[in-house]
């Protein structure tokens, strides 16, 4: 059991998503940067789909009631365990009754903390991912009690720890500005000028960005006709009639009425998820 002493800005429990229910309008949900979430699990020799904690801007303060192995990946976060700094991308052994302070995120947007054996939470429609309107709670609050699978003995991962200490795990470089895309279903319907603008302009991540979608800002003028409501998915780039670009993310609705001008690959969705407000990006065809 983990007790939450303070919630952080927006801390949620996420696995890789809620599949099979999109025909009922249920969003996929799941970790924003799936590569980092999977990495945290794999470092702990967990199944890749086990639920992890996802943290935004500033993480929570948590109290571990039992000893366990944890691993932090994704955006760079200042983490301490009873005052000692906790390295990222490595298995870390927490003793019973130690306190974790997951502080500010200094580089990137979403950090992940996996626990050996996996974090447990209410399973709804085959997934533990927090989701508005689907799970009873949508984020971790102060005093929430987070359950995780049974305590692991310290020896379990000790050899692994040394292995990772040798430092061969790749870290978190989210600095690239190029986002690889394919044509969206309505790309060809855009004017040639708009097509060109889309692929040459440097856009910035707007502050109106969340798990549903990232809005993009730029000085350029774009516009696209609305469409008959059609399927959308994470990575779909919508263009509204007034030219607003929205990159749909993991909590996106399942259908939408704006032109779908570009489509990010799953990898690009992971990449863009780590972009913070004001960061520039450019779209390029794969």
């Amino acid at each position: 059991m983990i007790r939450v002493l303070s919630s952080g800005i927006s801390t949620t429990i996420q696995d890789l998503g809620r599949f099979g229910y999109r025909k009922y309008g249920v969003p996929l949900a799941g970790s924003m940067d799936q590569a980092s979430a999977i990495q945290a699990n794999l470092i702990l020799r967990n199944d890749r789909n086990l639920a992890v904690l996802e943290m935004l801007v500033k993480g929570p303060q948590i109290h571990f009631e039992e000893a366990c192995w944890v691993c932090i990946t994704g955006a760079t976060i200042l983490a301490t365990c009873d005052g000692t700094s906790v390295p990222m991308f490595k298995p870390f052994y927490v003793e019973a009754n130690q306190q974790f302070n997951l502080g500010r995120i200094t580089e990137g947007r979403y950090s992940y903390m996996a626990v050996k054996g996996g974090i447990l939470s209410e399973e709804v429609m085959g997934s533990l991912s927090h989701s508005n309107g689907i799970t009873a709670i949508h984020s971790i609050q102060k005093d929430t009690r987070i359950e995780h699978r049974s305590t692991q003995l310290r020896q379990d991962l000790l050899p692994l720890k040394d292995q990772f200490l040798s430092g061969h795990v790749k870290s978190n470089d989210f600095s690239g500005t190029i986002i690889l895309v394919e044509k969206g279903p309505e790309f060809d319907a855009l004017s040639l000028e708009n097509q060109k603008t889309l692929l040459t302009t440097s856009f910035q991540i707007s502050n109106e960005s969340n798990r549903m979608g990232y809005r993009l800002e730029s000085a350029v003028e774009l516009s696209a006709k609305e469409i008959i409501t059609s399927p959308v998915q994470p990575g779909t780039v919508q263009m509204t009639s007034s030219g607003q670009l929205i990159v749909l993310m993991r909590d996106a609705q399942t259908t939408g009425g704006y032109a779908r001008v570009l489509q990010l690959s799953a990898r690009s969705v992971n990449g863009i998820s780590q972009k913070v407000v004001g960061e520039p990006i450019k779209f390029r065809f794969t």
Binding site: Y21, K23, G25, P185, P231, Q233, T254
Partner: protein
């Protein structure tokens, strides 16, 4: 994405001095460009290749008897050697133009009389293949079972060609242009010929005999006065029958039908959905349908281009008559002003009394097209025209759970509290979406929904029953 008409590979003879080339381009997969034999020079080839490039249409050389006077349409007294060097020059000239524009020559198709001669005359066919062997990456368009195709098969990649706008003789040669019934001018008849070739691999000759035919690519003549209307008509027919298919995300494949909200189209989408789910059940995670599209989400590691090929090979035209069981649901709605917060404003804007709006809204059952936008949000079709109304310019920050609204030509129910731009005219006390139920919503795509007006007292009575899990919706089976 495969280009051309809905994956039907259509080619056209262009660059022959006519003005409609750019109108035809959007319908084509490839075009055959006159390269100096019957028409054209470096300049015209350059213009045509550039135009094709703009429309992403593949280009091929269209060599002919060197006979501009007769537009290459008469068989010519010419020695085999002379003809060989002329064809070689025509192809080379075309290749030079392609290279100058960094475009690949995709294919070669003979023109007019030469096409017909090489289809029958072994010597001419062998000579043509001999010339083409210098271009090993270039495909050859030739009629199936023709002398030319037979000679080429072991040496070149051959695309079998058939004609959409020419009548056939019993031996699969084209009715000679000197006859009055050589060219098909009616879009309807052209479509009938193409449709038969696609569906049954056969064509009906002018003598009414059904003859088997194989074709990978289909030709419409650019100089057929009706080429554009033929292509346009074929486009319309094909789009209802066969969807556009394209990759959509790493693990998605999208099928799109004509951009219309129409029961006929929607029924085809639903049938396609159940067929694809059946055929690809091991590859699919889930599918989502909307009015005129279907997205197929694939399991990790499934190759989407393989799935695209499988789907393109399916006959998605047959509407499934054995529909799954469907129901009509009665949903109680209170239209009192405390629930229908926009009813008063709407009444002024569309010039109907509130009573009239309520009567119209509850007058008929609406078809459930699909669920999207929010968990359990039903997209309903069939709203009476009189009460169509655009979404609000500024969406409300909170629309309560159960709110019934009008957005454009649709009506719907908010399954949970959410921001929303629809005009709210009432509210249902019933909870349509329940995460603990399986499926989470009982109303399914293909069902119908009828709104039953209730007063405030009944609203609270039902709300109480809902809270105590004592309420269930009235439903009747649809035949």
């Amino acid at each position: 994405m495969d280009k051309g008409l809905h994956n039907v590979n259509i080619n056209c003879d262009l660059g022959e001095g006519l003005e409609n080339d750019s109108d035809l381009m959007p319908y084509l997969h490839s075009c055959n460009i006159a390269c100096g034999g019957h028409y054209g020079d470096a300049e015209s080839m350059h213009a045509s290749v550039k135009l094709a490039l703009r429309f992403n249409v593949k280009v091929g050389a269209h060599p002919s008897f060197p006979d501009r006077e007769n537009f290459g349409r008469k068989s010519m007294e010419i020695s085999l050697d002379e003809l060989k060097s002329s064809i070689r020059k025509q192809i080379n000239d075309f290749d030079v133009v392609c290279k100058s524009l960094s475009v690949k020559m995709h294919h070669i198709k003979l023109h007019g009389a030469l096409y017909n001669v090489a289809a029958k005359d072994e010597a001419v066919a062998q000579m043509v293949v001999y010339v083409l062997e210098d271009f090993p990456e270039v495909k050859l368009y030739a009629p199936h079972n023709s002398a030319l195709a037979r000679c080429a098969e072991s040496k070149l990649e051959v695309c079998y060609e058939a004609f959409i706008d020419r009548f056939y003789e019993d031996d699969l040669s084209l009715v000679h242009r000197s006859k009055s019934n050589a060219v098909i001018e009616s879009p309807k008849d052209s479509w009938a010929q193409l449709n038969a070739m696609l569906k049954t691999n056969s064509v009906t000759s002018i003598h009414g005999i059904t003859i088997p035919i194989q074709a990978d690519t289909f030709c419409v003549h650019g100089d057929n006065e009706y080429a554009l209307s033929i292509l346009n008509f074929i486009d319309q027919q094909l789009s209802v029958l066969s969807p556009m298919t394209q990759p959509y995300g790493d693990s998605g494949v999208l099928l799109s039908w004509p951009k219309e909200i129409r029961p006929e189209i929607y029924n085809i989408v639903r049938s396609a959905d159940s067929l694809i789910q059946n055929v690809l059940k091991n590859e699919i995670i889930e599918t989502v349908i909307t009015y005129q599209s279907l997205v197929v989400y694939l399991k990790l590691g499934v190759d989407r281009s393989e799935v695209l090929n499988t789907i393109r090979g399916l006959d998605l035209t047959a509407v499934d008559n054995q529909k799954s069981e469907s129901f009509q649901w009665e949903i109680p709605v209170c239209y009192a002003s405390k629930f229908g917060s926009d009813l008063n404003e709407l009444s002024k804007e569309i010039n109907l009394t509130e009573k009239e709006i309520i009567a119209l809204h509850s007058s008929k059952a609406y078809g459930v097209y699909f669920i999207g936008f929010l968990p359990g949000f039903l997209y309903l079709g069939g709203l009476p025209k009189e009460i169509h109304h655009p979404r609000k310019a500024i969406p409300s920050l909170t629309v309560p759970s159960g709110a019934v609204g009008i957005g454009g030509e649709q009506t719907g129910i908010y399954p949970m509290e959410s921001p929303g731009g629809w005009n709210i005219i009432g509210q249902t006390p019933v909870k349509l979406f329940n995460v603990e139920a399986s499926p989470p919503i009982s109303i399914q795509a293909g069902d119908k929904v009828l709104f039953i007006p209730i007063d405030e007292e009944t609203y609270y009575q039902i709300a109480l029953e809902v809270a105590e899990n004592q309420y269930s919706l009235t439903k009747t089976k649809l035949i």
